[in-house]
Symmetry: none
Subunit: 216 residues, 4 copies
DNA sequence: AATGAATGAGCTTTCATTCAT
DNA sequence: GATGAATGAAAGCTCATTCAT
């Protein structure tokens, strides 16, 4: 690297007895490291995130990262593992098209993930170069597509329907990227309420059963 | 960075007088460097692209990069500048909604950009950390949104219409990312013909004038 | 150090009350640590032996090493101190040339030191960088030379005789090194029976009283 | 490591234009690095030799070592490769027993290898942990044994004769170790003249054809 | 007595960059 | 215009050690 910095290293150490150093609370330290790591990975990507900075954010020694996560790769995976799925857990997934648009707009609106700073899906996109991580990423997005497919309630050619579900995933990813990494305005500032209308149209357009008379 | 390589360094230097050394063709050398740089930036991102590898691809000395582009940042900007806009040049932009979906599907299908290896929009997303580059990126995407807006032919609230145009941009970005960086299948393998149907529905859903009776 | 491991960390803790944790048997723990340390020092040398691995071999906490031996240096010295002399204790030293060759061949043959894995003289050669350790080492070898001298029963110039005794020491050291650290074959595999003949010739050649008519 | 230093880092830079920095002489720089590396590897062993110190000895930047030797392992191998064989080149090897003792005593006497500081065979013994290096080492010593065998002119059982040749190798190694690494006196200070007598007796004892009447 | 959290220092390696030729 | 030698700065990782509990 040898390049410039873009961050603003600040001691976080949330919830710690201020004044003194963080002492003897492995779980808390581990969690704080994860938090700081996620923040940097999402904001700066894998390469520009340095373990030294992560440790400094939390105010602990660099070697603790090795202790808890073994390596940078391990830290990244742990950050990834702790990341909420694209759209909630199993039970919470919207069960029909109508709910899907609303859920999406809420998920993608700014500030929806206060504990991550930015949308967690961005973490998935920060290349690590490790095939197993790439695989994790693919799996997560594939899962999401499958769920969208189930929620779509649409009939018809299976491949085409899956493609349409994946296009919805792509839209979600694109929105997250364009909002956070690019800062395209007004999209970057749109609230959930402003997003829901257009998203409903997209979801309907993509997932509505083909109208009678349409030729594919 | 840490270690692994993902490339396959191969001398390119196409169109050079074989046998002898590349001699004294500044313009050609410069162009070859740009080409090699784009390829790596798109495939590996900014950080994992090393100037040494770029120079080695072309078969010239590393210091030439400094001569022509001054720095890695400069090389990246030059690579970015030479990138075709998201959707063709001024005159070629589709003038109505109907054409837009088709143009998009063609643009986003694999192999559409043989000289880049992958979709050039990915180059826009490779963080450089430099604010001027970020600005370039935003500008390019903003331009595209404006043009989509013009092509949409829609009436109504200006802000909402711009938001919808930007959502289309986001979709394009998302598709490029999901195809190339993530490899989500079947989307990654879809042809222009397979993409056009769903994309038409999205474009219609997003840009069609609100049907009578709709409440926003 | 850099990276690779060459061991095969296995819990030893022989003779411990199985089932429960090693509890409160300071002497046993201390001895087990020494044993594990010797094994690693001999096999891997000083630098490549890590206290963590030694502690793990025994199954106790790393900090115990500090408690019992104060430091890595201390552990090494303790390991050295517990090492049997090159050739047995005082009373057992062979009293004449004839016995010397036989004792040597037995000492140097493989498997002669089951509790060390390799010949303990190797421990003497593992640099510690500490002058007091170097001194210990010199003293041990000097003692051995003196005893060889006494056993040689030879008359003549004192200095020359000492030199010859030290050459026998050097041979012993060389054999241990070449067998264990280098693995030179067939020497590395030779049994005591195979060694004794040649060694008898060396001992005779070196220590036999100068034949009449010889000029030194 | 994290341990003490035992050296005395001093700028060498022999043959360089004093006053200014070493400039633009790749071959000389490379050689100076090799020289410094050999010195440290022999004196301190592989682990305790740091690239920083080697570079500092020569007065150049650490990264040059990567440039010329790629890695620490590479530097070690290069140092090893440039090391003279145990006993001279092909033609120079003593052709009979009589010459062998004399050659050995000359080789093993102090100061015989001014460009190495210590006897180069010690370099062979400095573990690197790399199997290919271990193999190099074994091969070098095996070569030497074979040559001793050829020079011995002895008849008899082949295996026994090889064993005896290897014992002579072991003696050579042992003498080098005991002189340099251990500093056993008077052996460490003995001159070639003082060594030759005893060595002649050893060589005769080991390699002389079995006297008639001897049972093996 | 024993544990495990936390630290500090140092090592190899990697890169962008600069300087002479 | 072009080359290759040389530099500086940092990154990931490892280890002995110390400090609370």
């Amino acid at each position: 690297m040898a390049a410039r910095k873009t961050d603003g290293s600040a001691d976080v150490a949330a919830g710690q007895p201020a004044g003194g150093r963080r002492r003897r609370d492995a779980a808390a330290t581990r969690e704080a490291l994860l938090q700081a790591a996620r923040d940097r990975f999402i904001r700066l990507g894998y390469d520009r995130t340095t373990l030294r900075d992560v440790a400094a954010d939390v105010g602990v020694n660099l070697a603790l990262i090795k202790r808890y996560f073994d390596s940078k790769e391990g830290l990244f995976k742990a950050a990834l593992a702790g990341t909420p799925r694209f759209l909630g857990g199993a039970g919470e997934f919207p069960q029909d098209r109508a709910a899907l648009a609303e859920a999406l707009s809420r998920q993608l609106a700014a500030g929806a993930w206060p504990e991550f700073g930015e949308h967690p899906v961005l973490l998935l996109l920060r290349v690590s170069g490790d095939e197993r991580v790439d695989s994790l990423r693919r799996q997560a997005l594939r899962d999401f597509s499958r769920r969208v497919l189930e929620a779509s309630g649409a009939a018809g050619d299976d491949d085409e329907r899956l493609l349409r579900a994946e296009l919805l995933v792509a839209l979600g990813v694109g929105i997250a990227v364009v909002r956070s990494a690019v800062g395209l305005r007004p999209l970057a500032d749109a609230t959930a309420d402003e997003l829901i209308g257009p998203l409903r149209d997209v979801v309907d357009g993509l997932l509505a059963p083909p109208r009678p008379g349409d030729a594919v």
